[in-house]
Symmetry: C2
Subunit: 334 residues, 2 copies
């Protein structure tokens, strides 16, 4: 390992001179600087980030708490993380995946210990206590898809997104609009339900949804089962509004398995706009979450906190837009 001490010794200068030259301090003469720079590259000098981190009290690293069902196989959350990762790495930071350290799950301690500059929390909420401690610390932190309303969060405007979904179906002539609900226990899930119920009320329609069963994983299976439940309770709707693409595809398959055609008999709209929308048959019309914007804005907010020194930022709410594919069509009158 080549250190600044070696370079200094080799050149007969002091370590501080080397350090300053390497860090671009203006007070170093051009002559010494170039001598130092040349030797440094020649010797293959690499700064020891650990030592730097110890004295600078920052690690150029952002921690990520990622606690999500199916982990990185969860296409939605991993897509958000991907967008975040590109932005953060583009700004010169590394990403440290914080493990939950056995049972202790003390993310705050872990962050402090590893000296991360900022933290992104993507957690669907199993270790609430540990995350809450994080939030109440003075770390720069952003939380994606929070399970409760709070500062320093970023999320899609789910309330209006679902309303837009419903309106799209409504404008297509559908009146019996069913809703495939998500979680009833977290903020995002409740927002979506509210969007649906408000729309239904505004238009004076009948609600079609399962009141007593919260869906926590937004999965294909949940979509399939909820559609079954819905169908057996209410019969065939005109259209179904969903809270995830996977659930939409689950519902789609339930209906197809029971002899119905989508979109001829029923229209279905997804939520998220994952890559699987294009591989379903029919291709899935969906409410697109602007994942790129989410990743970028989460990154920007975090870096802004670092630069400005503040630790609180108002919730960032991102708009959703519809992506029309083939799973919805005008209500037919056969």
């Amino acid at each position: 390992m080549v250190t600044i001490a070696k370079i200094a010794q080799e050149l007969g200068v002091s370590t501080s001179t080397v350090s300053k030259a390497l860090n671009g301090y203006s007070e170093i003469s051009e002559k010494t600087r170039s001598k130092i720079m040349n030797l440094a590259t020649e010797m293959g000098y690499t700064p020891n980030a650990t030592a730097q981190s110890l004295v600078r009290k920052r690690a150029d690293t952002v921690g990520v708490v990622y606690e999500v069902e199916y982990g990185l196989k969860n296409l939605f959350f991993s897509s958000v993380l991907e967008a975040f990762r590109r932005n953060v790495q583009g700004r010169g930071y590394d990403i440290l995946f914080l493990s939950d350290n056995g049972t202790s799950q003390n993310y705050l301690k872990h962050c402090i210990s590893k000296n991360v500059d900022a933290v992104l929390v993507i957690s669907t909420g199993t270790s609430v206590e540990s995350v809450r401690k994080l939030i109440n610390s003075d770390l720069a932190l952003m939380m994606f898809d929070p399970w409760y309303q709070s500062k320093n969060t970023i999320y899609t405007d789910s309330y209006n997104a679902i309303k837009k979904s419903c309106k799209y179906l409504y404008d297509l002539g559908h009146r019996k609009i069913a809703f495939l609900n998500g979680s009833y226990s977290n903020f995002i899930g409740r927002e979506r339900l509210k969007g649906y119920l408000d729309f239904i009320k505004e238009k004076n329609l009948e609600p079609y949804y399962i009141k007593n069963h919260s869906n926590e994983s937004y999965s294909y299976d949940e979509g399939y089962k909820t559609m079954k439940n819905l169908f057996e309770t209410y019969g065939l709707p005109d259209a179904v509004c969903t809270v995830s693409d996977l659930m939409a595809i689950g519902a789609l398959h339930y209906l197809q398995n029971h002899g119905y055609h989508v979109p001829d008999d029923v229209s279905i709209i997804g939520f998220d706009d994952l890559s699987i929308c294009d591989i379903s048959t029919p291709k899935l019309t969906t409410m697109k979450q602007d994942i790129e914007a989410i990743g970028k804005q989460a990154c920007d907010a975090l870096i802004d906190m670092l630069v400005q020194g503040h630790r609180t930022v108002k919730p960032i709410i991102v708009d959703a837009t519809i992506v029309v594919r083939d799973s919805c069509k005008k209500k037919s009158n056969h």
Copy 2:
């Protein structure tokens, strides 16, 4: 921040005593130890991992070089990473995502700088030079799906996997077996082609594949286009053997769009066994890569190197097995 110095001062002992107590040295008396432990927890002491890392020369962190098309949205590689992550974190390591640091892409320097203990490389090969430097360093390193044969790699036995795929189709009565190829320029891709060609030769069949077009991203689109190309060149095959689930689904859709039924008219077999196999219509029969085993064995190998101190391990080759769903059936004689 509470440091060992504070604890020491508070208790009127030396920092070295505190350090030893905290680290479970046997020479510390039970009495002092418990005094120290109690105060430490009471004060909320968290060891500064950076300082520890500086002196211990390890960071309890494994670096991950992840350079893959679509990034974490790539369901295959992100699934491998997920399995790896769980294993590694279970062993007490954090995962550091190494950024490619702008244009320099010097992973080796980055690893040294950040003091990572080991590295997993999941790279489909754009920055070959940088990765090669990594491999030739004395870091503990494993590489998944290498683009060339080398020590310290882990991958699925693609050659035999494709042979098994073909044999499965053959045993179903299919003789006109087409092949949707992957990359011609990397090791894994060539292994798969070889498996196909050897099988064809052994059974004295005609090969049906596109000789002059390498597919690099194993995507839906590539599957669709290659199937089109294949169909227009050779007409309808009995069955098609593919190198990825996504390509299989692309091919499936091409055939469906052209009025053919899978599996009645054509059988298709995928490769990987991603979660999307269950949501395609029909559900995709596929060659399953044992992603859990890959993640675990990569982790084990790395930790073994760390413990044993060696840096070279023979290639780890993982078996693949077939998962039967609905996209293949016996050749019919209509």
